[in-house]
């Protein structure tokens, strides 16, 4: 990989300053970025590690729900979010493998917005708020397509705030080699309705299945989905599964998630 200058600030303000430099790129857990740099698909001139910033670490209840620092590793979320938001903790505990979960972070995952990553589905299904060094962004405005987010140059995620649902579940159909989601569905039930977010299936990345949300808001059971179909148009097709296969998975996994959420 190409060499770079390495910076490890200890506050959000210092990180913002370092990221203002030409060619600077934020590094969180690095579980995607480092392999990408090895392949020379990314070659930042300056890498700014966000893992030494205490104010971006940890899980706690606060205004608006569960606050998770953007640099909190998946393994910590799996453990510490369990009492507050078990479906989110279970999702974090199923990402990659234990060594990936020791390093990979929620902020890194949603900043990258891989179309098959797990976390974007939880953020979107929970109607979470993405907090950056500059502003707060609603989940519905944050995800903007394949590897694309509302983040601007020099902007980085500092925390995510999750409203706590009355019940929720994430069901992932594993791509067994990569352990990314071949398709994954996060269902979250709130007092004002149900939200369903799908990852791994859409050509444009994570999306809400609004027909299912409407049906489930009236009747929160897998039966409520029986009359619905998912249009394969716009679904990912690759050697692991056709668009029609993924469209079917969306419906099947949504049903399973509703049943699991209870």
């Amino acid at each position: 990989m190409h060499n770079f200058d390495f910076a490890k600030p200890s506050t959000i303000a210092e990180a913002a300053k370092a990221l203002a430099a030409d060619g600077a790129q934020a590094l969180s857990g690095g579980q995607t970025l480092i392999p990408t740099m090895k392949q020379r698909l990314a070659a930042p001139g300056v890498l700014v590690s966000l893992t030494g910033i205490a104010e971006m670490q940890g899980v706690c209840m606060g205004d608006g729900g569960l606050h998770i620092g953007a640099a909190t590793p998946h393994a910590v979320v799996a453990k510490e979010a369990k009492a507050h938001y078990p479906a989110l903790a279970a999702l974090a505990g199923g990402i990659g493998d234990p060594a990936v979960r020791s390093r990979g972070t929620i902020g890194g995952s949603i900043a990258n917005n891989d179309p098959a990553a797990c976390y974007p589905s939880a953020v979107l299904a929970s109607g979470a708020t993405v907090v950056t060094n500059k502003r707060k962004i609603a989940a519905d405005d944050y995800f903007q397509g394949l590897f694309t987010t509302a983040l601007e140059e020099g902007e980085f995620v500092t925390s995510v705030i999750f409203p706590i649902p009355s019940s929720a579940a994430y069901v992932k159909f594993n791509q067994p080699a990569s352990r990314f989601a071949l398709t994954g569905v996060f269902v979250a039930k709130y007092a004002d309705g149900v939200r369903v977010a799908v990852t791994g299936a859409g050509n444009d990345g994570v999306f809400r299945w609004k027909e299912a949300e409407a049906a489930l808001s009236g009747n929160f059971s897998a039966d409520a989905l029986s009359g619905l179909t998912v249009d394969p148009d716009g679904m990912i097709a690759d050697l692991h599964g056709s668009a029609a296969y993924r469209a079917n998975l969306v419906k099947v996994l949504t049903g399973r998630a509703v049943t699991a959420a209870g």
């Binding site: 990989m1 190409h2 060499n3 770079f4 200058d5 390495f6 490890k8 590094l27 690095g30 579980q31 480092i34 392999p35 740099m37 090895k38 890498l47 590690s49 893992t51 590793p73 393994a75 990659g96 493998d97 234990p98 060594a99 990936v100 020791s102 390093r103 352990r179």
Partner: protein, 161 residues
């Protein structure tokens, strides 16, 4: 080049690294600790797993500079003080938990991290925990058996085919 310092297997160490120097390179080339193996260099095989502040990480997917100040444990730090094998290492030997041995350092470090968190894991938990460690000899049954045995459990019923 910048100077990094950390604790490796209980000893304070330091060395000059570039930004791009991976922890695996620092351990192997900088410190001569070649017990940590680099199998795939693409974050998939787990042969390079070491502990950083007690947590298992793929040392080929962490920059040395990013873990400056940390406490790192490698396979060289796993034996007992008198040089005899630790319970886990001995269990790998007793249950033939290795064939070519290339994946073994990562298997041992991942398994040790599991047992530290979960001293009596079920067979399913061992298999789930070792998902990120690939054995090219496909010797998984005996690896699982060794980990179960090291945790003090009866392994006569663990899959052996």
């Amino acid at each position: 080049m910048t100077k990094v310092s950390m604790t490796v297997n209980g000893k304070a160490v330091s060395g000059e690294v570039e930004g791009r120097t991976l922890l695996s390179s620092f351990l192997r080339e900088g410190l001569g600790l070649t017990g940590t193996h680099v199998g795939c260099d693409t974050s998939q095989c787990g042969a390079c797993v070491v502990h950083v502040d007690g947590k298992p990480v793929k040392s080929c997917t962490v920059f040395a500079a990013d873990v400056a100040g940390a406490s790192v444990k490698t396979i060289e730090g796993m034996a007992n003080a008198d040089g005899s094998l630790s319970v886990l290492q001995q269990a790998f030997q007793d249950h033939h938990g290795l064939q070519c041995g290339f994946c073994t350092p990562g298997m041992v470090m991942s398994s040790a991290a599991l047992l530290a968190e979960n001293p009596k894991p079920t067979e399913h938990e061992v298999r789930h925990h070792l998902e990120g460690n690939i054995c090219r000899c496909t010797g998984y049954h005996n690896i699982v058996k060794a980990v179960m045995a090291a945790s003090g459990q009866d392994v006569s019923a663990v899959a052996a085919e």
